[in-house]
């Protein structure tokens, strides 16, 4: 494959050197466009980029005229380049000024300005048609194969400038795109950066127009960047993926145009669009297929949790799907997908006898049980009637993110039993040997060393002493702790919730 490609390149260079130039120019321009395109996509300024591309015509003509009339120099490339950059900046400045100073919204202002400035260029071309020889057709449609040495130099310089600019100011570009207010507040010159980005856009657009023409240049900017946007979760990655896609898109389009003998500019943009459509369908996270797959394999979280709960209550016995369905009052076939999803996640182990919990599954199920019983206790305190408790808690237990449940536990004063008299599982996620926890979450039998003591109990306990927690008193509202000092003396402390919260314990 590589050898074939090499042979092909050699034959191309030999037979037609202009193709080689086109290949080089296209590679440079398409990757640079793709880089700048990332910021255009993220800042949602595609339409503005299009406007900059069109307004170029006026700048090119003005640059041409100036050199022709003042110096008699016709088609001076440098003057036309500078002219097009200036006209790009003027367009952006006009757009931002008019949209800020009038009630007309930005998209409408862009529409006015870019057609206006583009048309002005057209008027100038026809008015000075005797001295100006600009091929409007090529301006609109591009001419990749007509790329000359001067163009190549221009494109190379532009690419270098733009790449260096992005590399050097990456952090600033990132933050003015993501959070302008913060960028301004930490002293980043937001407006200056906007204009530098616009200038870079103008520069790459000028080289892009030479290649694919003013109509298609937007595709060169945006298609690879948008494709990368569907693939990446970090701006850094998005930039180089976009550059890569710009290059592959160009190569595909260009080779196709050689074989099929079609306009290369159009072929490149078609290839870039095809790449986008392909990624749009197959992107692993943000693609169409991934989305369908998520919908198809989605299992109601409630079913998952109900199944775990049922198997936990069976206390080690294997439960068949029919039995689980019986408990939950649902049809077995409805639960099959949820059960097999749990199996895949390693929470349930299924065999001929039925389903049992794995260690992870047992942990998860106890976590849910704790949430359920804490919610019941909470609802009881909030005045919900006894017979409705279970049903309400059954809904609410699905709100079981750790923070919320621990908060509930704390607010309720770390209750031991729920309103039906069943034990509420302890906070086993935090009660791990070696962990630093508040005394209040400890249960009977836990032991540990006092790590620090707050102001409320500073006269009763000292760090370094060991504790063993006894049964609670006073309806579970008084913590009883037997404390052993470093010299071996023992005493018993009776603490309320606040005091118990004030002592932190390193668990044995």
């Amino acid at each position: 494959m590589m050898a074939n490609l090499y042979d092909w390149l050699v034959s191309v260079q030999h037979d037609s050197p202009h193709l080689m130039k086109a290949l080089l120019a296209g590679g440079l321009v398409s990757t640079t466009c793709a880089l700048i395109g990332c910021f255009i996509v993220l800042r949602r300024t595609s339409f503005l980029a299009d406007a900059v591309a069109h307004s170029m015509l006026a700048g090119v003509v003005a640059g041409y005229l100036l050199m022709k009339l003042v110096y008699g120099d016709s088609a001076h490339a440098g003057a036309m380049l500078i002219g097009s950059i200036i006209s790009g900046i003027i367009t952006v400045a006009m757009v931002s000024f008019v949209s800020r100073a009038s009630r007309v919204k930005e998209d409408a202002v862009i529409g006015i300005m870019y057609t206006g400035i583009f048309a002005l260029g057209g008027v100038m071309v026809s008015f000075f048609s005797d001295i100006i020889h600009i091929d409007l057709y090529h301006f609109v449609i591009g001419s990749l194969l007509g790329v000359g040495d001067a163009d190549l130099w221009m494109m190379g310089t532009v690419s270098c400038v733009v790449v260096v600019f992005i590399l050097m100011t990456f952090r600033w570009l990132q933050i003015i795109t993501f959070d302008r207010v913060m960028a301004a507040s930490i002293g980043i010159p937001v407006v200056l950066m906007d204009y530098l980005l616009t200038m870079s856009t103008s520069l790459v657009v000028v080289s892009g127009v030479r290649m694919v023409g003013v109509i298609l240049v937007v595709g060169l900017l945006i298609a690879p960047a948008a494709t990368a946007y569907l693939l990446c979760d970090r701006l850094r990655n998005m930039l180089w993926v976009s550059a890569l896609l710009g290059w592959t898109g160009f190569l595909l389009g260009y080779i196709a145009s050689e074989y099929m003998n079609v306009a290369p500019g159009s072929a490149v943009v078609v290839a870039l669009t095809a790449q986008f459509m392909l990624v749009f369908v197959v992107a692993p996270r943000y693609g169409l297929l991934a989305d369908w797959r998520r919908r198809l394999t989605a299992v109601p979280q409630q079913e998952v949790e109900d199944i775990l709960g049922s198997v936990l209550r069976a206390d080690g016995e294997a439960l068949s799907l029919q039995q689980i369905a019986g408990y939950l009052n649902k049809r077995p076939e409805r639960l099959r997908r949820a059960a097999s999803s749990l199996d895949r996640q390693g929470l349930l182990a299924g065999d001929a006898q039925g389903y049992t919990l794995t260690d992870d599954g047992r942990k998860e199920a106890r976590r849910l049980l704790r949430a359920h019983r804490l919610w019941e206790t909470y609802l009881r305190e909030a005045g919900v009637h006894e017979e409705n408790l279970h049903a309400h808690a059954h809904v609410l237990e699905h709100v079981h993110d750790e923070d919320a449940v621990d908060y509930l536990d704390d607010k309720l004063g770390h209750p031991l039993i729920d309103p039906h008299g069943s034990e509420i599982p302890e906070d086993f996620l935090h009660l791990v040997p070696g962990e630093l926890v508040k005394l209040a979450i400890l249960r009977e039998g836990h032991t540990g060393t006092i790590h620090s003591v707050g102001g409320l109990v500073s006269d009763q306990a000292n760090s370094g002493e060991t504790v063993e927690v006894g049964p609670r008193e006073g309806d579970g509202r008084i913590w009883v702790v037997s404390v052993t000092t470093t010299s071996g003396d023992k005493r018993t402390l009776r603490l309320d919730h606040e005091q118990a919260d004030d002592i932190s314990i390193r668990l044995d």
Binding site: M168, R171, V181, M182, A184, Y229, D233, M238, D401
Partner: protein, 257 residues
Amino acid sequence: MNTDVSAIDVQNLTVSYGPVPALLDVSVTIPQGQLVGIIGPNGSGKSTFIKSLLGFLRPDFGDIRLFDEPIENSKGRVAYVPQRGAVDWDFPVTVREVALMGRYAKRPIWQNLTKEDRDIADEALEMVRMSDLRNRQIGQLSGGQQQRVFMARAMAQGGDILLLDEPFAGVDAATEHAILDVLERTKASGRTLVVVHHDLTTAAEYFDTIMLLKQRLFAYGTPDQVMHPELLSQVYEGKLRVFATMDGDSSAAGDES
């Protein structure tokens, strides 16, 4: 830092987006170490006030001094937590990268971020308990988690003034708790906090001082002074039926504090 000068000193601030001013002739002086709440109906200029303090909006006229210096000299001293709706959650950026942005003010553009910066950002994420999710893209977080990421960014920046735009809007109880905790700790370290707040029933409980804003500054003082039903219903016009029924509660909360 000289502790005598006030943290924020605003004189005759007027800001407008079009013919109608969003803020008109607002003058307020906030001493250091205060926890100030800004309340007011929708569109009353609360966010505009915050953005002016950040130097993002150019006032029509008026003067803002932070620690007796013009805003241009206080770049980076003001950290900011944006309103949730103002953030592009699809932006390709991870939790850790957002926290790292807090360090951008400290490093000139030609310097790379150092290990120290990364450690500070990680520590801030640890403080809001977001370390486990540090490599997630920010759109894949719950509302409360998203809020906490930006809190971490503000802490990593470590400015003397912290501005928060509606941090409690649409967060769960645990996050509300975590945010309050961070606010208290920040205040205890001597920093000044200004918080845009939408919930009148909790405002008196959360803040030392309250600004009641609707284009003009209607009241500025302790919760007892500001949270008067007549004053509030004048500012909120007819939209305050909820508050009228909670009248008893709110004054009770005011008395406690």
